[in-house]
Symmetry: C2
Amino acid sequence: MKNTQIVLKNYVNGVLKESDMILNASATINLKLPEGGSNNAVLVKNLYLSCDPYMRTRMTKLEDSYFEAFAPGSPIAGYGVAKVLDSRHPKFKKGDLVWGVTGWEEYSIISPPKILFKIQHTDMPLSYYTGILGMPGMAAYVGFYEICAPKIGECVFVSAAAGAVGQLIGQFAKLSGCYVVGSASTKEKVDLLKNKLGFDEAFNYMEEQDMNEALKRYFPNGIDIYFDNVGGKMLEAVLPNMRTNGRISACGMISQYNNLKLQAEVACNLFLMVTKSLNMQGFMVNDYFHMYPKFMEIIMPLIKQGKICYIEDFAEGLENAPAALVGLFSGKNVGKQLVVVARE
Amino acid sequence: MKNTQIVLKNYVNGVLKESDMILNASATINLKLPEGGSNNAVLVKNLYLSCDPYMRTRMTKLEDSYFEAFAPGSPIAGYGVAKVLDSRHPKFKKGDLVWGVTGWEEYSIISPPKILFKIQHTDMPLSYYTGILGMPGMAAYVGFYEICAPKIGECVFVSAAAGAVGQLIGQFAKLSGCYVVGSASTKEKVDLLKNKLGFDEAFNYMEEQDMNEALKRYFPNGIDIYFDNVGGKMLEAVLPNMRTNGRISACGMISQYNNLKLQAEVACNLFLMVTKSLNMQGFMVNDYFHMYPKFMEIIMPLIKQGKICYIEDFAEGLENAPAALVGLFSGKNVGKQLVVVARE
């Protein structure tokens, strides 16, 4: 069977481009697991693939990196939703729907599966398992509730607020009785944040001359919680606006991923961590997947009761996957960016 | 009575120089509080003045600074030990020995005293109340025990390890069953750390080509706790050497104080906060002075039993105070730098 793949051409230096990835239309795969292979292998048909900023960090060979670099010449990997076609793994059987880490290709042999969950609730859009019901949902839940421990009335700022995680932070903040403001890169997204996602305020950071002043406008009394998805210059602008004893949840730093090897721009006012008694806590969502069942118990009723919604941005077909991934870094996506490989 | 003062000439830009401070030998003072003045005023004779890195940040006019800037033309202020000559304050009476914030001059009217403690234990060297029994002692205690919550066997790194705070971190770490390494700027200090203060290891960071490599040498399995007194390039070198879930106590960032207004050099790899799930907690010791009595109960027996020692570096006379303060920023001091104004 033919098995179209998205392959990493070479390690990437600087800004990610579509041409750093190649569509390989000549690969093939046997749709049955080979005899005598691994006892834990699962063969899946990929349905939805998730475009996540952290994937850029796997395209550069870094010393001491948490993430293993992708291998040039091989398909890249990421979170996705898939259907099991064949399995030697005791937890998965043919016909199961699953979400977790898979390949950017039509079919993948996952052997052994490291992060793979059986989808229990098939009454939800399957694509949600790349977003609100998958890794970004868990990141929002953990990063906001576990890391920030928000209290009613607190002032919350979230960057990349219309993204996969940010849109949930705003909604969680409102459910927790907080005042929440989000930043995004277009007027369309700002309107979404205010009119559909329930943010108290939102602004287009591309249109602000002075980010520090913009934050002062929306937070005259300062920020209690900053949910940081971007790092860099935005973090630098946030620090002077933090209140004493404020908390920063360091979820991601998308502004840095295209130049992790370089002397990246960064908060040059980190001394404010001291004088404002700030706490910054980084976290990796993989360390919290044991909480996934608890998360599902909380999030499912919220979705069903219409108390939380989720915006997705679909790219159709593997051939459009590289552009979708690259688009994350210029904010082209509105909501969770994903790729439809097949609908069933 | 004449009252020699050290006066700030002008707001300071860039590197602090002795000439930024002026010795004013023509000021006078009446050694009796004026009738009808503040009901809370205390008139003191200054004995020992503390040279602390944070004082540099009060010499530049910064927006949103935690510390109020000194007034050009007026004596600078800082922690010190003094004797009460006259008092309208109910908590202090003539003859009391006190420590807290006072002026860089022979005599000061403190009105009202904001941070001023009556010295209960006069059987200790009075100079200790600028160091181990004063603000730096509290900073070490709070920053290590309250912020880092060290566990037996953990690996601790402290920068500026032979300074007022650093020398205590090493000794606290050993008392807590930790492995501790310190960095300092001369061979003499490194020897002190290893031979007198009980650090497991110490190194001269001025002699290291590659700080990252130096840290790898001393921490092959990584750092659990970094007690940061310097910030900047050292923090940048530490981040890749932190273990997952490591903690950073942000006590001070002396490397940054001479250029807080500039685009200071900083950790350009802050993304490691995310991938290593690190926690960085800044703190201001003033927020913890309610714990001073508890601290004294703990530290006094340790000193008396010889389980903890303290190295001081004395400058004699107010006329030598500017050089002593400036010397902090090139690491001239060995141990706690203080100025002797008068011995009683």
